[in-house]
Assembly symmetry: C2
Homo-oligomer: 349 residues x 2
DNA sequence: TTTAGCACTCGGGAGGAATGAGTGCTAAAT
DNA sequence: ATTTAGCACTCATTCCTCCCGAGTGCTAAA
């Protein structure tokens, strides 16, 4: 069933009033804010109907109405106008992007901090993707007699390194040999393909080579595990407390703990079709989020992976504004990854 | 003036009772807990004196006593018995150390998480040291025609890398040349020595070399800046809410925000003589910490740097227990850095 | 110096009245 | 058929007030 235009107008007024004031919206307030030429009694009748449709609800009998999750959903889907960012806002986001993000592997952790500062909401950031990462190349660098550095690169262009200290001395030619071996036998393999393979190689090379190889390969496994584990970075969790819906500790604490501890077992649907995805109240899978909303945007990392960055807040959020900001931010990140390089401030000369 | 033994006993009983119950301690409770063969009236007299000495205070007239910051300080300095960890506790810490910390550069961020989980207090972790870091070696790895990896190692044995994409194609011999140049002219320099030097080199080599060199050097500068910036990692901030002294948002919020935002401008005295340092209430420099305590332990990173890891909580903390746990944990980290290698689970066979 | 006894203080919780915003419903008006 | 004015009603919130009890300080005796 389709709502009358007037009902839509009223629902929208309720949502937008409530987003601003955080107080239940009464019929008189609607008359004042929406440009309707009807009396408050009429509004009351309409609101009663909107309530029976499940779009509005009453905290208690003698209070105004607040939007239900379904009400917000309808608002987001049909009523909300796309928010246009001001030049200042885009400028702010651009500045933050370019100033703060220096190294590619900091993107995950820094992006969250930036968004959290910009929006004053808690944020989470993670990388995802169905495609399994593989190591595309190995380099071994001799440091001294019993220390060397392994540098690994994944197909997603992520580079990781680790310093190894070993008891038996190693030589440069030896490392050369090993890295050839690694590059021929241990590249292009996904995490599950990587373990049993070890044995074969130990036959070819000597005892010592075996132990070195296994050191580097177990490092490779760590790296791949880390990539698949979808570590979730969070930032700005205490910002929650600034919002009236989390003024009571019973509300705030479970959510804050959930956010602080959301590790690999994230209960969010991370696949998304469009750039921005909004989950309202009970649409969230995690119990701790049933009374909150999540707005997230995705960006392309390359190598078949995508990054997701989102904010968490009360269902009473400025969806239009946040969606626009996140989307713009995510686009900026996509662009950075697309270019494969950070537009550092030094480049602009 | 030296306190009588009985006063010491009473002070200690008050502190330890209060640490456990979080409720002001009355004279009767003291009689019951401390093994004193005197009546509650005597205790009351003694407590009145302890109060006038500034060691105890009364939340309000008709309540028991709680320790003042000076009271805690005296307790920590003289009365507290060193806490012996149980086998289980040390085991737990060892397990956490070995399981969670895989790569050296994760130590900072992981250590905090571990301690926070172990203690259920918010933690902070940072690296410090008067000595300036320098880059001790550069390696350039050719990836493809217009991409290469720079691997930098500091004198503190930290290795960082970055993938560069360049518009002009580069060749392996060229990179070889550049890395020699970098290693001869740009190693052993502190952050402040690093900038003006650039010009000299541009004369030697051609145009293109210049731009590549400056790319790598500016990365080196970023790395050194990052090391000097003493980035503070925090974890477990919401754990604060579990403690009764932070049940009211007015108390909890400023502190949580402070912790969440404590960036480079950390107002803590980071130098320390012993392994563990305790700051009680107003001994803290930051206003936000005036009603809280900080317990921190340091560990040796090598290369003239030391790491600091600490917990933040109410002044009513189990100082003995936490000091012991942190100290043990920090010693474990020192050992790891001393060996220069992570005792990975795979090695234990 | 210690102790028993007692009056006193004060925070915290329970109960209850006043307040007021906002409703639903009815009956008249358009 | 819809809209509106009017009015009784509901209920969260605020502000008293009262009461309780834990714990104190003080006094006077041991």
């Amino acid at each position: 069933m389709e709502l009358s235009d007037r009902k839509k107008l009223i629902l929208r007024a309720v949502v937008e009033n409530y987003i601003q004031t955080a107080e239940p919206v009464g019929s008189k307030a609607i008359v004042a804010s929406a440009g309707l030429k009807v009396s408050s009694a009429t509004i009351r009748n309409e609101m009663a109907e909107l309530e029976s449709l499940g779009l509005l609800e009453q905290p208690h009998t003698s209070a105004g109405r607040i939007p239900s999750p379904q009400g917000y959903r309808l608002y987001v889907n049909e009523l909300m106008e796309e928010h246009r960012l001001t030049i200042q806002e885009t400028q702010k986001i651009n500045d933050a992007l370019h100033l703060k993000i220096r190294q590619m592997d900091q993107v995950m952790s820094e992006a969250g901090k930036i968004i959290s500062q910009l929006t004053r909401y808690p944020t989470f950031a993670l990388a995802t993707g169905s495609k399994k990462s593989v190591i595309s190349r190995y380099d071994l660098l001799m440091v001294e007699e019993n220390a060397f550095i392994a540098v690994l690169m994944t197909d997603g262009q992520v580079v990781k390194n680790k310093l190894f200290r070993v008891s038996e001395p190693v030589s440069a030619p030896q490392l050369q040999l090993l890295s050839t071996l690694l590059n021929t036998s241990f590249t292009g393999l996904t995490l599950d393909q990587l373990t049993p393979e070890l044995l074969k190689v130990s036959a070819h090379a000597g005892e010592e080579a075996y132990s070195l190889i296994s050191l580097v390969v177990s490092f490779a496994i760590e790296v791949l595990e880390e990539m698949e584990n979808h570590v979730v970075h969070t930032a700005g969790i205490p910002s929650l407390l600034a919002h009236p819906e989390y003024q009571s500790l019973e509300k705030a604490e479970p959510l804050m703990n959930y956010l602080a501890e959301m590790g690999s077992d994230l209960n969010l649907p991370v696949i998304q079709d469009k750039n921005v995805k909004i989950l309202i109240g009970p649409e969230n899978l995690a119990d701790e989020l049933k009374d909150s909303s999540v707005i997230m945007a995705s960006y392309d990392i390359g190598g078949g992976m995508q990054g997701v960055i989102g904010v968490v807040g009360p269902t009473r959020m400025d969806y239009a504004d946040l969606a626009a900001r996140l989307s713009y931010f995510a686009d900026g990140l996509s662009r950075m990854f697309g270019k494969g390089e950070i537009p550092a401030p030094t480049e602009e000369e």
